[in-house]
C-alpha cells in the first residue's frame, strides 16, 4: 500500500473554551516546558461597560504554517518542517540566535534558558507518531481543539471545515497558518 500523504492541523472552537488552563499544564508536563514559558496559551478579550459585557477566549499555539517564516529565516536549518506539516526545531543545530522568534507572527516560540536553544510546540509529534493525539487536545474538558489530518476525508477536521465557517489568524503574512478557528 502506498504511503498516504498527511497534513496535520488543529480546528479550534474558541466559544467552548472556558479558560481553565488544562491545555497549558498538560503541555507543560508532557514537554517539560520550564516555569515561565508556555507552548500554548489562551488569549483573553474583555469588552464592554457594566452591565453590557463580553469575554472571549482564544486558545493559541504554533500554527504549524504551510510556509513557515520561522523555517525560512533560520540560518542553520535547525527550524524545519516535516512532510506532514509539523514545524520543529532540531536542538543540536539551533544556535539560539532567535531569528525565528522574531519571524513568527504568532509569538509561538520561546528561548529555553537551560539548553540555550529555541523551543516551541511540536504538536506532540512524539505522540502523533505513536497514533495518539496531542496532550492539549486530549486533556481539554470542553474539547475545544480537534486534531486531525487534512488529507484524510474521514477526519473530523474535514467535517468541521466543510460545515462551519472559520478563519485563520494573520493570513496576510503568507505563512499559511494551520490553526483553524471556527466562527
Amino acid at each position: 500500500m502506498a504511503i498516504k500523504k498527511k497534513r496535520y492541523a488543529l480546528v479550534i472552537d474558541s466559544r467552548k473554551c472556558i479558560n481553565c488552563k488544562a491545555c497549558a499544564v498538560a503541555c507543560k508536563a508532557e514537554n517539560e516546558v520550564p516555569v515561565g514559558n508556555f507552548r500554548n496559551w489562551i488569549n483573553e478579550d474583555r469588552q464592554g461597560e457594566y452591565p453590557k459585557l463580553r469575554i472571549d477566549f482564544e486558545p493559541e499555539q504554533c500554527h504549524h504554517c504551510e510556509h513557515p517564516s520561522c523555517v525560512r529565516v533560520c540560518p542553520t536549518g535547525a527550524s524545519w518542517q516535516r512532510k506532514d506539516g509539523i514545524v520543529l526545531v532540531n536542538d543540536d543545530e539551533c544556535i539560539g540566535c532567535r531569528y525565528c522568534m522574531i519571524a513568527c507572527p504568532y509569538d509561538a516560540r520561546y528561548f529555553h534558558e537551560a539548553s540555550g536553544t529555541v523551543h516551541k510546540c511540536t504538536l506532540c509529534s512524539h505522540r502523533i507518531d505513536k497514533g495518539t493525539i496531542p496532550a492539549c487536545v486530549e486533556t481539554c474538558p470542553s474539547k475545544v481543539r480537534v486534531f486531525g489530518d487534512l488529507e484524510d476525508p474521514a477526519s473530523r477536521v474535514h467535517e468541521l471545515l466543510a460545515t462551519r465557517r472559520y478563519r485563520v489568524k494573520e493570513p496576510q503574512t503568507g505563512n499559511g497558518p494551520q490553526l483553524y478557528y471556527l466562527l
Binding site: C20, A22, I55
Partner: protein, 729 residues
C-alpha cells in the same frame, strides 16, 4: 554568525551552571530524585489512578518513567470525568515534587506559629502525640479532643480513630461548603439528586459558576449543551464570571435576593397554571399551601428586590415551564452564602418539583449507586458524651456526623458545654477554610495540643505542635470509592510511585497513633486487606484485576430514568411524598415554606464581599502549586469603576480592606465585571506558613476579614454577609 554562536554557547554554559547551583540549594531533594530518574533504566509504565486535587475524583492514567511520575493523562473510562483532566489534575505531579512539601515528621520547638521545628522520627512523633492525647483524656475525658477532617478516601481511618478514642467531636467540611443545599434537597425529596445537564434544554443557575468551579460531569455537559445550542442558560450573579460570559442571559442580581426571583417564578408558574398538574397531584404534598404562600411574591415585587425586570422574570418562568421536564434550576455546590441559604435552596427544589422534572431526562435524577464490600473491623463503644457543638439542640435536621463548624468554634471558645483541649486535623486548613481567622487563632491558643496530618505545611500545620507528613496521592493506595450519580462509577486509587520522602499514608499514621493509645486492635489490618474486602462485592467479575488494570468501573449503557415514578414509591420524607410544605421543618421551628426576608444592604461607605473560584484553584493549597501559581501569582480586589473613581482607586494600587473582624492589604483590580455594590477576592492567598513559599504573605486571605455568620437551619457558614470598607493604603 560564528561569533554569535560562540558567545551564545559560552554564555549559556556559564549561566546554566550558576542557575543550577542556585537551584540546588533550595530544591536539593527534588533535583536529586529527578537526576536519579534520568539515569535509571528507561522503564515506562502506565498506572491508572484517581485524582485527589479536588472533590471530583476524576480518573487519570499516570505515566511513570524511571520511578518518577512524568505525566497524568485523562482516563476515558470514567463517565463522570468524561475523558478530561483539568489544570489542577495535570498539576498533581508538582504536589509530589514540590520543594515546599512536608518531608519528615516534625515537632514544634519555638512558639506556636513561629516556624521553629525539630525533625523527628516517626516513633518520636507518635509517642509525643499519643502522650498529649492521653493526658487530655485522663484530665478532661475523651470528648475534650476534636477531630477535624475533610473528605478523602482515607478520611475513614482518621474518623474511626477519633471515635475509637471515645470522642463524639468529629467535624467535617460540609458546613463550610454545601450543607445548606444538601439539606434543602433532602428535606424536599428525601435525597440529594444529580442534575442531568447533558439532556436539559433550559438551565438556570444562581451563582453556581460552573465554567470556573469545575464539577464533573456537570461542567462538560453544560459546555456541550450551551455551546451546541441544545440548551439555554440563564445565569444570575453579581459578578460577570466566565459562566456569565457563556450564558444566553446574565442578570447581575442584587446579592442575597435569589430567593425573591425564585418565589416570583413559582408565583408566575402557578398563576398561569404552568405547573405539572399530574406530577404535583401524584407525587407531592402541600401544593395548595404553596399556591397561597407565593401569592404576594409577584414579579413586580421581585423586580424591586432583585433588580431583574418583572417582564424578564415572567418570560423566564414561561420559557422554563415550557421546556419542562427538560428544565433545571441547578442546585450549585458551595452554598455557604447567606443566613437564609437553606430557604433559598428549598425554593429552588420546590420550583423544580412543581414543573415535574423529577427523575426525567434533562431534569433532576436520583443517584444510582453501585455496591461494594466492607472490611469488618473490631467495633468500639460509641462515644458517651454529647457533641460539643450541641447540634441536636440547635440544628436538629443537620447531619450529625459532620458537625456544625462555626457553632463548634463558638462553643470551644466559650468552654461550654465542656472544654476542648486537643485538636487533631487531617487534610484540612481551618485557618483558611473558616471565616474570622482571628477567632480560629484564639481557638488554637486554647489548645494544649494540636496534631496535623497533611501533605503540605498548611497554615493550620504551621500552628501545630506536631506535623505528620502524609504521602501524596500518587504515592499511596487508598480505599475503593463508589461514586453515585446518573452515571455511577467505582474508582480506585493505587500506588503509582514509592514515597520520595519520609512520609506515610494516613492509615499508617492512624495505626501508629492507635498502637500507642492502646487502640491498636481496632486498626489491625492492612490497606490491601481493606481494599480486597471492598473489591469482593463489586458487581464485576475479576473485580480486583479489573480495578488494578483500569482504575475505574462504570455500568455500561444508558442511565435509567423514572424508577421512582411508580404509584407505590415512597420518598424518604415524613409523608413519603415530595414535600413542598414541610411539617418536619415546622416542627423544628423553621418556616415550612420558604419565607423571603430582604438582605441587609451595606451602608453607603461599605461593600458586600463575595467569594468565588477560578478554574485552576479550588482549595487554599493549590495557589502554592508552581504550575498553577503561574496563572495567578497574587489575588486582588475586584471593584467596579464607578466606586473606584469616587474613592480614587486605580488598578494596581494597594488597598486596605477592612471588616468588623480584620483588615487586609491587597491590590485593586478596577473592572466592569462586578456590580458597584460588591467587591470580590479569590481564595487561597496571603498565607502565614513560610512553607507555602509562593503565596506566603502574597495577596490576602479572605478568612482574615470574613465575619462569622451561619444559616439558621443547616448551620452552613454564610460567607457573603460581610461588609467591608475599601480605601487606598
Amino acid at each position: 554568525m560564528g561569533t554569535t554562536r560562540m558567545d551564545r554557547r559560552l554564555f549559556l554554559k556559564a549561566a546554566g551552571a550558576t542557575a543550577a547551583g542556585a537551584v540546588t540549594a533550595s530544591q536539593a531533594g527534588c533535583l536529586r530524585y529527578f537526576k536519579k530518574g534520568r539515569t535509571a533504566s528507561d522503564d515506562r509504565r502506565e498506572v491508572p489512578t484517581t485524582c485527589e486535587l479536588c472533590p471530583n475524583k476524576c480518573s487519570a492514567i499516570a505515566v511513570v518513567e524511571g520511578g518518577l511520575v512524568k505525566k497524568l493523562n485523562p482516563n476515558p473510562e470514567n463517565p463522570k470525568s468524561r475523558d478530561m483532566l483539568c489544570a489542577r489534575g495535570n498539576a498533581a505531579i508538582k504536589q509530589v515534587y514540590d520543594p515546599d512539601r512536608l518531608k519528615q515528621p516534625m515537632i514544634r520547638v519555638g512558639a506556636r506559629g513561629e516556624g521553629k521545628w525539630k525533625p523527628v522520627s516517626w516513633d518520636e512523633a507518635f509517642d509525643f502525640a499519643a502522650k498529649k492525647l492521653a493526658e487530655a483524656k485522663s484530665k478532661y475525658g475523651p470528648e475534650s479532643t476534636l477531630w477535624s477532617s475533610t473528605e478523602g478516601f482515607q478520611e475513614v481511618f482518621f474518623k474511626n480513630l477519633g471515635l475509637a478514642f471515645g470522642s463524639p467531636n468529629l467535624v467535617r467540611h460540609p458546613t463550610l461548603c454545601l450543607a445548606s443545599v444538601n439539606l434543602a434537597y433532602s428535606a424536599t425529596f428525601g435525597t440529594v439528586p444529580s442534575f442531568d445537564l447533558l439532556n436539559s434544554k433550559f438551565v438556570i443557575m444562581s451563582g453556581a459558576n460552573r465554567f470556573e468551579s469545575i464539577i464533573t460531569p456537570d461542567t462538560m455537559d453544560l459546555i456541550g449543551g450551551v455551546m451546541e445550542r441544545k440548551a439555554k442558560l440563564v445565569y444570575l450573579d453579581p459578578r460577570f464570571t466566565v459562566t456569565a460570559a457563556k450564558a444566553d442571559e446574565w442578570y447581575p442580581i442584587k446579592p442575597g435576593t435569589d430567593l425573591a426571583f425564585i418565589l416570583a417564578m413559582i408565583h408566575v408558574i402557578i398563576k398561569e397554571n404552568r405547573h405539572s398538574k399530574d406530577f404535583v397531584a401524584a407525587y407531592t404534598t402541600g401544593f395548595d399551601q404553596l399556591a397561597e404562600h407565593v401569592k404576594p411574591y409577584t414579579p413586580e415585587w421581585a423586580e424591586q428586590e432583585t433588580e431583574i425586570p418583572a417582564k424578564d422574570i415572567i418570560r423566564i418562568a414561561r420559557e422554563f415551564s415550557d421546556a419542562a421536564p427538560r428544565a433545571l434550576y441547578y442546585a450549585g455546590r458551595r452554598s455557604s452564602w447567606y443566613q437564609n441559604d437553606f430557604q433559598m435552596r428549598r425554593a429552588q427544589a420546590i420550583l423544580n418539583a412543581i414543573i415535574g422534572n423529577w427523575d426525567q431526562p434533562g431534569g433532576m435524577v436520583p443517584n444510582a449507586k453501585l455496591p461494594k464490600g466492607e472490611f469488618l473491623f473490631m467495633p468500639w463503644d460509641e462515644p458517651k458524651a454529647p457533641r460539643v457543638d450541641e447540634i441536636e439542640k440547635h440544628f436538629p435536621l443537620a447531619a450529625k456526623g459532620d458537625g456544625v463548624y462555626l457553632k463548634l468554634r463558638e462553643n470551644v471558645l466559650s468552654g461550654k458545654p465542656y472544654p476542648i483541649k486537643a485538636w487533631m486535623v487531617y487534610k484540612q486548613d481551618p485557618l483558611n477554610a473558616m471565616p474570622d481567622q482571628a477567632k480560629t487563632l484564639k481557638m488554637i491558643e486554647g489548645m494544649d495540643f494540636i496534631g496535623v496530618i497533611d501533605v503540605q505545611m498548611s497554615d493550620m500545620a504551621w500552628y501545630a505542635d506536631v506535623v505528620f507528613p502524609e504521602s501524596a496521592y500518587l504515592e499511596r493506595t487508598d480505599p475503593v470509592e463508589v461514586m453515585p450519580g446518573i452515571w455511577p462509577a467505582v474508582v480506585y486509587r493505587q500506588q503509582v510511585v514509592k514515597p520520595i520522602h519520609d512520609t506515610k499514608p494516613n492509615l499508617d499514621i492512624v495505626q501508629g497513633l492507635a498502637k500507642r493509645l492502646g487502640l491498636g486492635d481496632y486498626f489491625d489490618y492492612t490497606i490491601e486487606q481493606w481494599v480486597e474486602a471492598e473489591f469482593r462485592d463489586l458487581p464485576i467479575p475479576m473485580a480486583a484485576e479489573h480495578m488494578k488494570k483500569h482504575g475505574v468501573w462504570a455500568a455500561s449503557g444508558q442511565p435509567s430514568y423514572g424508577k421512582t415514578l411508580t404509584p407505590d414509591h415512597r420518598f424518604v420524607t415524613k409523608t413519603g411524598k415530595i414535600e413542598l410544605f414541610s411539617e418536619r421543618l415546622q416542627e423544628a421551628g423553621h418556616d415550612p415554606l420558604p419565607v423571603y426576608a430582604a438582605p441587609v444592604q451595606p451602608p453607603g461607605d461599605r461593600f458586600r464581599l463575595i467569594l468565588g473560584r477560578v478554574g485552576y484553584f479550588t482549595h487554599a493549597n493549590q495557589s502554592n502549586n508552581v504550575w498553577l501559581n503561574e496563572f495567578m501569582k497574587e489575588n486582588d480586589l475586584w471593584i467596579n469603576p464607578k466606586p473606584a473613581e469616587r474613592l480614587g482607586i486605580k488598578t494596581g494600587s494597594t488597598l486596605t480592606v477592612t471588616s468588623s473582624v480584620g483588615s487586609v492589604k491587597l491590590k485593586a483590580r478596577v473592572t466592569e465585571e462586578i456590580r458597584p455594590d460588591c467587591v470580590f477576592m479569590l481564595h487561597g492567598f496571603g498565607k502565614k506558613s513560610k512553607m507555602q513559599s509562593l503565596v506566603y504573605q502574597v495577596g490576602a486571605s479572605d478568612a482574615v476579614i470574613l465575619e462569622t455568620a451561619w444559616d439558621k437551619v443547616s448551620g452552613n457558614a454564610a460567607f457573603h454577609e460581610t461588609f467591608v470598607k475599601v480605601a487606598n493604603a
